[in-house]
Symmetry: D2
Subunit: 170 residues, 4 copies
């Protein structure tokens, strides 16, 4: 059934990249989306929306986005639940990004003349090697030492990811 989400916002922190036991990349991040209206106290609030992205776009996200980056997400809402450590069921609502668009312009001291708007869609994956990033390698550090975990994308305390290489929806 129809389930479509489009967001533009800023990462509240650096994205986190993990791998399933079978080696599939998963990145998680939170987008702060400022609301287009003000609250009754007159201040501008934001929604903080948890996003998950799989495979190649996950690695692109980890490589090219960081805290504060402006990004667009096209995906679906997913809900799931697991048993929390206190024994009660925890319900999660998050966005599974099918594509992530990088909306930050390249930094001023970079050599490229490209202006923003790079797409990290799964179909549009142009398989850029990490070393040849047009954005430089200032984020490369973040990609080192990632442990392969078999965890729930947004938590460290529960519920293995029940996913296998063969059965991913995209």
């Amino acid at each position: 059934m129809m389930n479509r989400v489009v967001l533009v916002g800023r990462l509240t922190k650096d994205p986190e990249l993990r791998y399933t036991p079978s080696g599939v990349a998963v990145a998680t991040f939170t987008l702060a989306c400022n609301r287009p209206f003000t609250s009754q106290n007159g201040d501008r609030e934001a929604d903080f929306i948890n996003c998950v992205v799989w495979r190649k776009p996950a690695e692109n996200v980890a490589n090219f986005l960081s805290k504060g980056s402006l990004a667009g997400v096209d995906g679906r809402i997913q809900t799931r639940s697991f048993d929390g450590q206190d024994g009660k069921r925890v319900f999660i609502t998050e966005v599974v990004a099918e594509s992530v668009q990088f909306l930050e312009p390249r930094s001023a001291n970079s050599g490229s003349s490209n202006r923003g708007g790079q797409d990290f869609g799964y179909n549009g994956g142009q398989q850029q090697g990490q070393g040849s990033s047009p954005f430089g390698n200032q984020n490369q550090q973040r990609n080192q030492g990632f442990t392969r975990v078999d965890e729930d994308p947004f938590s460290n305390d529960g519920k293995p990811i029940d996913i296998s290489d063969d059965d991913l929806p995209f």
Copy 2:
């Protein structure tokens, strides 16, 4: 910032209608959206997405939708948090519907020749009186005896709605 959600799914239960202290209608319901792909165990799963709708469309939802109804939602993702009764902060992600479309055809024994597709948008609110519903009044019972509560739409145990008539975003 851009934040758009479009869903089509079925209500898992009858919607719940409440009123804020200042008399604003709020309806809450959960949409079951079947996923377009199967899990690794081969079964078709669903996402259960909590939705909130305000004002006139809230009353339309309460009047015309019930458990199992097929409905479309156009809205935004909202996050909020409150202190749970166990003292820890609870984070909520839900969809605030700006318009709800009724996708169930009118029942066979009804007199109208209209086929499905009725819209409950706030701008398109055609202000149908409860008593003159083209769908009959079989749901009207549900609208009686609603207590005016000042509660968080999806819970009975917390956090007053911090909203006033004057400051609604729509």
Copy 3:
């Protein structure tokens, strides 16, 4: 770059199914989407939006939808142009559906207990044989005798489809 469309409307005519020279199915149809507001003359108008869908979902559309069917579309806006017969360039804006959802309930005299909401997404293609349609074969006639054309989906007067099996975006 982000480009997302979600529509719900009714087919203005039976869909048209064609095949490219290389055998790829393409269906075209027009969705009438009633506007949620009225014009200044007080009447409710509609937008008539041309849609194209490729491959398996194209065949599903041709088999299960017909004039008047309520359907949902999730896709992208596409523009293209070609030289019209009067020598001037014609510009086309249409929606390429990635998935089409059938929102009509099964007909009253059908044996299935399923209620509406069937999805024709490419990933969700459950490869239903034409002969085993749960909706009967009243539309099957429409699928016979389709000439394999190498035409622009919405016109008979021009411009070959520049697409090959290998290079489809989905």
Copy 4:
């Protein structure tokens, strides 16, 4: 009925601002949205999508966007038709933007510390005076001398806008 479009792309030219006879601002512009996949010849193509925006956001668009600007649009698809000068009916499909988001970062030599992501939604209209633009007044020229026309937003050869101040959907 549901009809939702979200786009991110770059303006192909400076936006054009006009006013209806009753004084309502209308801006038109075309967004180039690069496709996330390549054509069979291996080159990356784009869709060129005509957009219309009304009232305050129209003026914001004219003031803050120009050729090449990266912008997001949230709106609806609209179709309309009129009689062309050659006597045949012309059909138009375009996007009516309900909100436009400015995704270009402010220019390097500006004094503000704000980074991109400004929203021009109708509800979020913060009513910035033209003279106090945080982006400087380099675009202000474009806003001078606009004739009040009663034309179809995207053409100079036809069909009066059938709209009045009182009957706008937003």
